[in-house]
Amino acid sequence: MSTIAFRGVHKVYADGTHAVDGLDLELAQGELLVLLGPSGCGKTTVLRLLAGLESPTRGEIFVGERRIDELPAAERDVAMIFQSYALYPHKSVRQNLAFPLKMRRAPRPVREQRVREVADLLDLGPLLDKRPGQLSGGQQQRVAIGRALVREPAAFLMDEPLSNLDAQLRTRIRSELAALQRRLGITTLFVTHDQTEAMTLGHRVAVLNQGRLQQVGTPEELYRRPANVFVAGFVGQPAMNLLTASAEDDGARLRLSGSGAVVAPPSPVPSGRLCVGWRPEALRLGAPEDAAALGTGTVRVVESLGPERLIHVGSDLSPWDAAVPSDRASVIVRTGGDEPPPRVDDRVGLLGRAEDAHLFDADGRSLAPPIRPGG
């Protein structure tokens, strides 16, 4: 049980790609930190650097007080659960569990005892003599966890362990994993591209994009105070509506591009192109003539999701992402299911409060004061 620290870690490949670009990250003892990001963002590389399957081009990695980035994988005292579990297909569950101990020349009685303990913990007793091929996905996962546990490692590494499971199983095992981790208190680094997993599992979540750390914080913090446009648009489903605006009156007022509506920011904003974001649940539909409307448009799609609805509105507001043609961009509004739904092609106005807006400068950085010094 230890802390984990990445200090100035870079991983550059031979062709020049920066898979990991200057990572500084610390995990507290017993914490479950989730690495979240789109595919190719470097999260798996970070995991592999910690595991010892790759070595950093620059920087240092610590497990507890030990500097481990120059140690071979086997000496790092970390255990990894692979996306595909990587169970040895030709060995029985018992042999799979015993393998790490066998490699460490643990004497037989010790091996047998540990295997028994872990099997009890994870309810693997009846499966011990079966082969991985005979087990269900959920069972294989437990064996993978068992194999990692058997060594009593200082840290757990998990590479999208839930993505191979079907939806129902995923939810169940997710909570089991969380409970297990809490109970054992092993510092865990968990990689996923699935937001829901990240938000529900992690004590803290670290968002990565293109090798760079975007923001680290509790799921709450990421959601309410995204540090930049990327995090704002990535965390939360459906994504936050990100719009273009510009400053007026020396920053006292914000004019939304496209519709020309004016909003009063809480504090003065810098000049230049700015980004304003509203989450779908922060917007309402109103009459198109409403003077307070942020913009007007036509209803394109109405998605009924049971207790709520998602309304896609093709509006006159300019999206922040210049690559999307404005006749395709939709503003998404989330409404409760009680009100009567709008119909497609209805003209509507978009209403929202200035207090609910997220503001970002031309470089995408949040203009809101940071929650904690240093983020």
Partner: protein, 282 residues
């Protein structure tokens, strides 16, 4: 196999299974002839060779087989082939698989060089080097020995290449898991990779076996007595042994291939599957 089923019907249109079976029977005729001749008294073999009787042993007898065992050291010759082949195939599996794995998965200085050597030597057929190899082996005292018929063929560029191609596609995660669990490269290879590489080993075994079982030129050069002489040379020599009795010769032929054929018939599916991966890779 249902996809194959539909495919054939489409490809062949109305070509009935009868035609194919007839073609197969035709293809087998020489074998039937050989078998029949082996069961006839020598005097009748040529006499009846020109009629339908060629394919039919009137009163089958195993006399020829007994004659072969009398006239030659067939048992010894057969044993020689078995020993030589087990040596070549067995030794080859160990040596070539390790090399193929190291080239595919391990990074070491000189890896590119070794791979290059393998690729270059891949193209060198036995016949091109048989003459100097003969003198080399003679100098080392290898004439008329087992080792001279086994050792030169154990390391095989083609086998190495087959293993190399196969291991390139082996699931990396298994090896990485083993690595994290504490296994070194050799341990990983022996405990994790080999037990999960059945198809590769099967293919290489079959291909190597087929090629080495039929070796003729090399034993011809190296051996001089039945002491270590293998079957292909055995039958050629027997052919020149007076008196020339075709019945006996055909019996020799049958005895030398019967075990292999029976083995094939029993293991047909695995056999075919085993060779299958050879051509599709490359």
């Amino acid at each position: 196999m249902s996809s194959g089923r539909l495919r054939a019907r489409r490809l062949l249109g109305g070509l009935p299974a009868v035609v194919i079976t007839a073609a197969a029977v035709l293809w087998l005729l020489p074998i039937v002839f050989i078998l029949a001749a082996s069961l006839k008294p020598d005097s009748l073999v040529l006499a009846e060779a020109s009629g339908w009787r060629a394919l039919w042993p009137g009163r089958p007898s195993l006399q020829n087989y007994a004659d072969v065992l009398d006239r030659t050291a067939f048992g010894r010759i057969f044993l020689n082939s078995v020993i030589i082949n087990i040596g070549i195939v067995g030794g080859g599996l160990v040596v070539n698989s390790m090399a193929g794995y190291a080239l595919a998965r391990l990074r070491f200085r000189g890896r590119a060089l070794v791979l290059g050597i393998v690729l270059v030597l891949l193209v060198v057929p036995l016949e091109a080097i048989a003459v100097p190899l003969f003198y080399q082996v003679t100098v080392l005292g290898g004439r008329d020995t087992y080792w001279a018929q086994i050792l030169p063929f154990v390391a095989n560029a083609f086998s190495i290449y087959l293993f190399y191609s196969f291991f390139l596609g082996f699931p990396k995660e298994l090896e990485e898991a083993a690595r994290i669990d504490g296994a070194g490269p050799l341990r990983t290879f022996v405990e994790i990779v080999v037990p999960n590489s059945g198809p590769a080993f099967a293919s290489v075994t079959i291909v190597t076996f087929l090629l080495s079982w039929g070796l003729y030129l090399w034993p011809l050069m190296i051996t001089s007595s039945t002491h270590v002489r293998p079957l292909p040379l055995g039958i050629a020599v027997f052919r020149t042994l007076p008196p020339l009795q075709w019945g006996d010769i055909m019996a020799f032929a049958v005895m030398m291939v019967a075990p292999g054929v029976l083995l094939f018939l029993v293991l047909q599916r695995w056999f075919v599957a085993g060779i299958a991966t050879v051509g599709v890779k490359r």
